[in-house]
């Protein structure tokens, strides 16, 4: 019997294929498309998703069904002593709360990490968890380490339009301040559990510049300085266009010398609110404990 299984959801941007390679379990997030349930990366491809999003189809997200969650825990516990589960941020979804409740049935064998990560930074946490598990840490130890590390991450998101955020009803504090007749391309930020408006841009170029400046500042002031790839992980997340992300990656080489800048697709549940033209930029500090 193996020691600790690592589990997350598809908000981490980890695909089923990649999950198999890494040896993690990824719960697919369910989507309601015109009232029918689809599962990310199971019976809903990225291309399909964006096509339907642009067609104006009503798309909404929901939590993984409790039954599926319990089923997955049970299955993992058949050949693992423990499970550490890293769901999407409790600030953005009820998934974490539900998982926490369900995990109590398993008398400590399932540990739910509430470290308020999403997308790229959630992915970083999953990778950290895997390393810690291989190093022989228990589920509780991993949870404690990750939760202590939760604020050592920063996310900026450039929005091409506010349309999808409004449509999904997620506009509240973030975009209320952006109500204007000019077409503004807001840059939002996720710090801890809060999704908030950070700044405004009118063009992609301005948006990128804003994000670079902000990320550099966060790295210098809170994430322990740039120090190359040993110190921080920087990634770009794209929604529909990988080309935009690739071009930006090239531009960024001189901004962050010595750093490898990753490119990941934005998970669909996030893209659903951001829209096809969004771009994310995130950084998390590497764990000091490792």
């Amino acid at each position: 019997m193996k020691k600790t299984a690592v589990m997350t959801d598809s908000n981490s941007g980890i695909t089923q294929t990649e999950a198999a390679e890494l040896g993690v379990t990824v719960l697919p997030m369910p989507f309601l498309l015109d009232g029918e349930v689809y599962y990310e990366d199971i019976n809903l491809t990225r291309d399909d998703f964006y096509r339907r999003l642009e067609e104006g189809m009503s798309i909404s997200t929901s939590q993984p069904e409790p039954e599926t969650v319990i089923e997955t825990y049970r299955k993992l516990l058949e050949d693992h002593e423990e499970v550490v589960h890293i769901p999407m941020s409790s600030g953005l979804s009820g998934s974490c709360q539900t998982a926490y409740m369900l995990a109590r049935e398993f008398e400590g064998r399932v540990q739910v990490v509430d470290n308020q990560r999403i997308s790229i930074t959630q992915r970083h946490s999953v990778l950290d968890a895997l390393t810690l598990a291989e190093a022989g840490k228990s589920a509780l130890e991993i949870r404690t380490i990750l939760e202590a590390d939760k604020f050592n991450a920063t996310i900026y998101i450039y929005m091409d339009t506010l349309y999808y955020l409004k449509k999904g009803g997620r506009i509240t504090p973030a975009a209320a301040a952006l109500g204007t007749i000019l077409k503004i391309k807001p840059v939002l930020t996720i710090q801890g559990e809060k999704l908030d408006s950070f700044a405004k841009a009118r063009t992609l170029q301005q948006g990128k510049k804003l994000m670079v400046t902000a990320l550099k500042k966060d790295i210098d002031t809170r994430l322990g300085g740039i120090g190359g790839t040993e110190n921080v992980r920087i990634s770009i997340a794209y929604s529909e266009s990988r080309e935009i992300a690739l071009a930006w990656q090239q531009e960024l080489a001189s901004e962050f010398p010595g750093c490898e800048i990753g490119i990941e697709p934005l998970s669909l549940s996030v893209a659903c609110h951001i829209g096809p033209g969004g771009l994310g930029f995130a950084c998390s500090a590497n764990l000091k404990a490792m």
Binding site: A177, I181, L182, I184, A199, A201, T203, Q205
Partner: protein
């Protein structure tokens, strides 16, 4: 006559005469403005500035030099509008610093006061330009010191020589500023200063002038007491004002004849003659007769006739209303907690047009001061806005190069709040600066980001030529459309759309992503949409955004970034 000193009483007369003279000739000074676009407002701005001081001065009861100096200094400072107005207010401020300590001004004190005036004004301008009001003032002060050193003792002769020399310097301004030479005019601000000086000199000589302010164009509320019974006592019912554009000589004899005639039909007479215009103001029961008579000397313009008996009733009504308002105002603090919570940061922007105001409010601007080209807000307007915005730090976006100085002045006069003037010269610069504000960052960081980002936006504005001229080697005909860029004319043409397209072409650079078009009050929506479509077609790699600005003066304001 050998009057060798000036006391407070005489100086009051001289100041009011100077102000009155400027007020009468402001339109003429406006026309000297060199650029062929309808921004001729130097005369108006200077006049509004000095009239604000004149109002303070007329309220004084004692003839005391110190209170007079204070009234001139603070009145002009608060009323300062436009670059020339701000410079004028600084001249007065410097002048008053010296005279306030003397009950009688002799030649030596007057000379020092002129020098202080020049020094203060130069300090207020970041990049002083020669060939302007500053040069005229400075040379006058230099001449005064020359004369004083050479033992000048007769005040009248002294003033005469200083004014004559300053007039000569003014006539040389076209040789100092190429833009003046091209347009074939002298500097308008310098001319305004001379008009003031000459009015004051006439008063010194004892020439008769009506010192009542007549009608102050700004319509600002002059504190006056009205007797409800007085309406019946108004002897002459119509306040009549006009300007005669002379087409024959109008010498002292004509002037006296004309005045005598006006006296036979009314009172409160002001007749101010210049080389080619005469400003006339009279209260009479038969305005037609004044007009008939004036037509003998030339064509009439700027005619204005008010029924004072009716106005009197209205004023009484308004006064009762405003006193009611005042009571309401004084009562509010008791019904509200006295201490209002100050937020961290506030924004004040200058903009004209309902669309523009809406855009700025939408961007989070707390207070939009209505104004812009041809209607520069005064320092006082800025101070009022600052007072209204309950914030510890306030960013001001002037959005016009002629308003930046007034904002800077307001900043210097504000002690209880930190004011940051972002020197935006156009509306798009202001919009870009505000959009780039980041709440999480400090004031200084934001200031430097805004200044940086403003450089990345190019502005073009479409207006029309008010007269034939030649600028940057381009022949421009009256009525032509002109596309003005950040540094000069980008396009000229006889069609509005064609000129706008040519201007956009001149503005475009590689890597530009967004073209914003704000259409003005005088443009039809469908014409603006047609222009936007053509621009979209031409620059398919760019986003094109069309907005209603509703601004006056500029048919289109276009930005690329």
């Amino acid at each position: 006559m050998s009057l060798n000193t000036i006391d407070a009483q005489l100086l009051t007369k001289m100041f009011l005469a100077g102000a009155q003279n400027l007020e009468a000739k402001k339109e003429w000074i406006n026309e000297l403005n060199v650029f062929p676009v309808p921004d001729g407002d130097t005369g108006t701005n200077m006049s509004l500035t000095i009239m604000s001081a004149a109002r303070e001065v007329t309220k004084l009861i004692d003839d005391d030099m110190e209170t007079l100096a204070k009234a001139i200094s603070s009145g002009s400072l608060r009323g300062a509008r436009g670059n020339s107005g701000v410079i004028l207010s600084q001249l007065f401020r410097g002048f008053c610093k010296v005279i306030r300590d003397h009950q009688k001004i002799d030649i030596e004190i007057l000379t020092s006061a002129l020098e202080k005036a020049v020094e203060t004004a130069y300090k207020a301008v970041m990049k002083p330009k020669e060939g302007t009001i500053l040069t005229v003032a400075r040379e006058a002060a230099v001449k005064a010191r020359d004369l004083q050193k050479n033992g000048a003792s007769d005040m009248g002769a002294f003033l005469d020589e200083v004014i004559r020399h300053a007039d000569f310097v003014l006539s040389q301004t076209p040789d100092m500023l190429p833009v003046l030479k091209q347009a074939g005019v002298v500097d308008s601000g310098g001319q305004g200063l001379m008009v003031i000086a000459k009015g004051a000199y006439d008063a010194f000589l004892g020439k008769e002038l009506d010192f009542s302010l007549g009608e102050v164009t700004s319509g600002s509320s002059v504190d006056m007491k009205l007797d409800p019974q007085a309406a019946a006592d108004i002897k002459y019912g119509y306040c009549t004002e006009f300007i005669i554009l002379l087409n024959k000589t109008f010498n002292i004899k004509h002037e006296m004849d004309f005045k005598a005639y006006l006296e036979s039909i009314g009172d409160s007479i002001v007749v101010v003659a210049d080389d080619d215009i005469v400003k006339v103001h009279v209260h009479t029961n038969d305005p037609g007769m004044a007009i008939q008579r004036a037509l003998m000397y030339g064509a009439l313009s700027n005619m204005k006739i008010d029924n004072m008996r009716l106005e009197h009733q209205e004023k009484l009504f308004k006064m009762s209303q405003s006193s009611q308002k005042k009571e309401e105002k004084t009562q509010t603090p008791t019904s509200r907690p006295a201490v209002t919570e100050l937020k961290e940061t506030g924004f004040i922007s200058v903009a004209a047009g309902e669309g523009m105001e809406e855009i700025f409010r939408g961007l989070g601007v707390d207070f939009v001061i209505s104004g812009g080209q041809t209607m520069n807000p005064s320092t006082e307007d800025m101070l009022n806005a600052i007072e209204q915005v309950a914030a510890k730090n306030i960013f001001i976006f002037p959005n016009n190069k002629n308003i930046i100085l007034a904002a800077d002045q307001a900043k210097r006069m504000t002690k209880d709040k930190k004011i940051i003037v972002i020197p935006s010269k156009t509306i798009p610069q202001g919009i870009t600066a505000i959009i780039n504000y980041i709440p999480d960052l400090g004031i200084e960081e934001n200031e430097s980001i805004m200044l940086d980002e403003m450089k990345n936006v190019g502005t073009g504005q479409i207006t029309y030529a008010v007269r034939d001229t030649d600028i940057d080697g381009r022949a421009i005909k009256q009525g032509d459309y002109i596309g003005l860029g950040d540094s000069g004319i980008l396009a000229v043409g006889s069609g509005m759309e064609e000129t706008a397209l040519a201007m956009a072409e001149a503005m475009m650079e590689e890597e530009k992503e967004l073209i914003s078009i704000y259409y003005g009050a005088d443009v039809k929506e469908k014409d603006a949409e047609a222009l936007a479509d053509k621009i979209r077609e031409r620059y398919s790699g760019c986003d094109v955004e069309l907005q209603y600005g509703g601004q006056p003066v500029y048919y289109y304001i276009v930005s690329v970034e």
